[in-house]
């Protein structure tokens, strides 16, 4: 049941006793006949398929829609743990927002010598159109996903800040739905905080950032690249749950200085656009001219106060991995406080000395591309083959500023349900944060991703990871 000696087990303490947060769940679990749980496990998969909760995989025609495996053992976080996390996340997200505003305005942090200017100079996520412009309500990161890992009872680290378009919130909600359908009695025995009002909170938070041109109740729409996008299910789900329109590029046009959608009655203006397309594709007139996913002229409307774009274009400047390594300084600079949630120690390969250290210790490090995401383009030293390390070494030497390195963390484990019973697997956690002009709120829960292979540290869905329901206990 327990993992390696130095790995924090979420369910059991080192003596093998069940931790307080899991006590009632484990009592319930032990009462269940093994057969029943096996059957429920299969039911869960069938139910996800029926509901169509899938993600698309590019370039695999036959498996064009796939399920993310769901594990039915919840990951449980106590009220106390959650309070600590919440404070740390709020602090970090406020700093992120202030940081982005500063970068596009006075750049105090660079003037103060706390952040090297070169990080902006060659950064693809930097948008010069945003310089000197403040989005409605001053909010850049309306929806943020903070990836956390845990290594000990009080040791949570931020692994990544997803400030542009964090996905996965639909899984947080559907996982809970599935658990409540399969095991209703559990929720009468364990006091679990509800996550189901996330869409309502999202709608409210977005509406609170309406632009100056809004008259009456703000019209919110979700912009999706379309049904072949990997996260289409989530886009449709959120629009549905918010009661917002789900729009595609072809539905939108700039009419009379507003971004409008083509309805059966004609063109109607949109006030807040929760876009799930990247900056590059947002406006063919301002960015990638070949883009078929965006709206020609939307940036002009944006800058003249005709629409709110969430998250704001140019937000990505805050979440690349080179910036990440400066987050402790960033938090301190804008909040005047020590960061409550530490970063994972990060080596910037751009630095010659550091690069040497990284090259000498590749077998023990995780090396990531600065702009990579989804578990692509990374090296996990301890499990990589000699050949993989050789190949990566060459890439690193050729273009060191494109990489950062981190020590391999002993990610905590949480049991998953297997045919042979419970078995520990590594997990991470992505809570979802909503930012409006005068409020930062976090739904008590999040998406727990779990590596399904024994010993594996890779939890990304695109790399075969699964998800779990995440319970935040009430006091």
């Amino acid at each position: 049941m327990s993992g390696a000696a130095d790995t924090f087990d979420e369910m059991h303490d080192p003596s093998g006793a069940v931790r307080a947060g899991y006590a009632e769940y484990c009592r319930w679990f032990d009462e269940q006949p093994a057969d029943l749980l096996k059957r429920k496990d299969q039911e869960a998969e069938a139910s996800f398929r029926r509901t169509g909760i899938t993600f698309n995989v590019y370039g695999e025609h036959d498996a064009e829609e796939r399920l993310i495996p769901f594990d039915m053992v919840p990951r449980i976080i106590t009220a106390n743990e959650w309070r600590r996390l919440t404070r740390g996340i709020e602090q970090r997200v406020s700093a992120l927002n202030a940081f982005i505003h500063d970068l596009y305005h006075r750049q105090e942090i660079i003037r103060a010598g706390r952040l090297p200017e070169r990080l902006l100079a060659n950064n693809d996520a930097w948008l010069s159109n945003m310089v000197g412009f403040t989005p409605p309500g001053g909010v850049y990161t309306h929806i943020v996903g903070i990836d956390l890992v845990r290594t000990g009872p009080n040791d949570f680290f931020v692994l990544e800040d997803n400030a542009r378009t964090p996905s996965g919130v639909s899984y947080m909600l559907e996982n809970r739905e599935t658990m409540m359908t399969m095991f209703p009695e559990l929720f009468t025995r364990v006091p679990v905080s509800t996550v189901s009002d996330y869409p309502r909170r999202l709608a409210r938070s977005l509406a609170a950032c309406a632009p100056s041109a809004t008259t009456g109740k703000p019209t919110v729409a979700v912009l999706t690249p379309g049904i072949y996008n990997s996260a289409y299910y989530e886009h449709a789900f959120l629009a549905d749950q918010m009661g917002a329109e789900l729009v595609e590029s072809g539905d939108l046009r700039v009419v009379g200085g507003r971004v409008c959608m083509r309805t059966t009655r004609g063109f109607e203006p949109i006030d807040v656009l929760y876009r799930r397309v990247d900056d590059d594709f947002l406006d063919p007139l301002s960015f990638n001219p070949d883009s078929m996913l965006g709206v020609p002229g939307i940036m002009d409307v944006y800058r003249s106060g005709g629409i709110t774009i969430a998250n704001a274009p140019g937000t990505g400047i805050a979440d690349d991995k080179a910036i990440y390594s400066f987050m402790p300084e960033i938090v301190e600079f804008y909040t005047g406080e020590k960061p409550l949630l530490p970063n994972v120690e990060t080596y910037r390969c751009a630095d010659r000395e550091t690069l040497k250290y990284v090259l000498d210790n590749l077998e023990e490090l995780v090396v990531k591309e600065v702009h990579g995401s989804g578990g692509y383009g990374m090296l996990i030293g301890p499990t990589a083959s000699k050949k993989e390390i050789r190949t990566f070494r060459a890439k690193l030497e050729a273009n060191p500023q494109n990489y950062i390195a981190q020590p391999t963390l002993a990610l905590s484990t949480c049991p998953v349900f297997t045919r042979k019973g419970l078995a520990p697997r590594h997990v991470d956690l992505r809570p979802f944060v909503l930012v409006s002009p005068d409020n930062v709120e976090i739904v008590p829960g999040g998406l727990t991703r779990v590596a399904l292979k024994k010993g594996s540290l890779v939890v990304n869905s695109s790399q075969g990871g699964g998800t779990k329901d995440t319970w935040v206990l009430k006091d």
Partner: protein, 314 residues
């Protein structure tokens, strides 16, 4: 509602209707082929495939009409862009695209239906399985309509879906009638003569009207009566008159919801009123084929006008 969403709903239901009509025709073909010798069975399959408008494609691939080839071509042949598998995939793709405008009951019915059909058609369908497969497909349609009727909000989306259903149904019934009429009656002078009752039975079965017709006509089955039933009988849910009456209902509601009389609602009002007044003698005076061709043309005009009135495309 977005124009694209209205378009998606309209076509989702046109395709759903097409799936069901294809299954019905196939069902009728199967029954007929079972009661025939090899040669006449070949004719049956030829007529089923011709009615579906897939004759050219089929003949290019296969020289002769055998049952196994015919139903596999209709159900699942990758060379047949209108095979039932492809039609159902389109239903499901449209449903995904308009996911926010349909109830979750309807989405689940369509998604599960697609999963069942996809599974059943993943390999060639054998003689012993084809009957069950067709029954299952018809069940999928029934379930989807049930979920639609029970759970959809009665707003514009509901009426766009109904408009798609009845435009397609009117077209399908007219097409089946036109095709069969030609096969069954070499010349109009045959009307009223004693014809192969079995073939008329197939015609009625392909629109699921055999029992209704027998009930209303106490066992009589003459060409004229059947043609009248399929064109003019307001009680039969697949007749032209019924289809355009319900299409009129939905289009006038849409016009009211949008606060403007569109071309589409004008056109359908004319058509439904004309069908109300029409007698079967007038149909035969005009010529059945001429009448049906004219009807299909007007039906198509209504569909185009709907797309225009409600900004389906840019």
């Amino acid at each position: 509602m977005l124009g694209r969403t209205a378009n998606g709903l309209f076509w989702m239901f046109r395709y759903l209707e097409r799936v069901e009509n294809t299954a019905r025709l196939l069902d009728a073909g199967l029954r007929m082929a079972l009661t025939r010798d090899v040669i006449s069975a070949e004719d049956e399959w030829r007529s089923v495939i011709a009615t579906l408008g897939q004759g050219a494609g089929f003949e290019a691939k296969y020289g002769i009409y055998t049952g196994t080839q015919a139903w596999n071509y209709i159900l699942r042949d990758k060379d047949n862009p209108a095979c039932l598998h492809a039609l159902m995939r389109t239903v499901r793709t449209n449903a995904r695209a308009v996911r926010t405008a349909i109830s979750s009951d309807l989405w689940t019915a369509v998604n599960e239906g697609w999963m069942k059909i996809d599974e059943a058609l993943s390999r060639p369908v054998t003689q012993s399985a084809v009957g069950d497969v067709v029954k299952m497909i018809k069940g999928v349609g029934t379930l989807a309509h049930g979920a639609f009727g029970n759970s959809m909000l009665r707003d514009a989306g509901f009426h766009f879906a109904r408009a798609g259903t009845f435009v397609e149904r009117a077209d399908s019934t007219a097409r089946i009638l036109d095709m069969k009429y030609y096969l069954l009656l070499p010349s109009v002078s045959y009307v009223g003569s004693s014809l192969d009752a079995g073939q008329w039975d197939q015609l009625l079965r392909s629109v699921s009207g055999d029992r209704a017709f027998r009930w209303l006509n106490t066992g009589k089955a003459d060409a004229r009566g059947i043609v009248e039933f399929l064109i003019l009988d307001q009680r039969f849910p697949r007749s032209l008159a019924y289809s355009h009456t319900l299409l009129r209902e939905s289009l006038t509601t849409l016009a009211r919801l949008h606060g403007s009389d569109g071309t589409s609602s004008e056109l359908v009002c004319q058509s439904a009123a004309m069908l109300d007044e029409l007698t079967i003698d007038q149909v035969f005076d005009e010529g059945l084929h001429e009448f049906l061709t004219g009807f299909m043309f007007r039906n198509g005009e209504i569909a185009d006008a709907i797309a225009q009135d409600y900004r389906f495309l840019d």
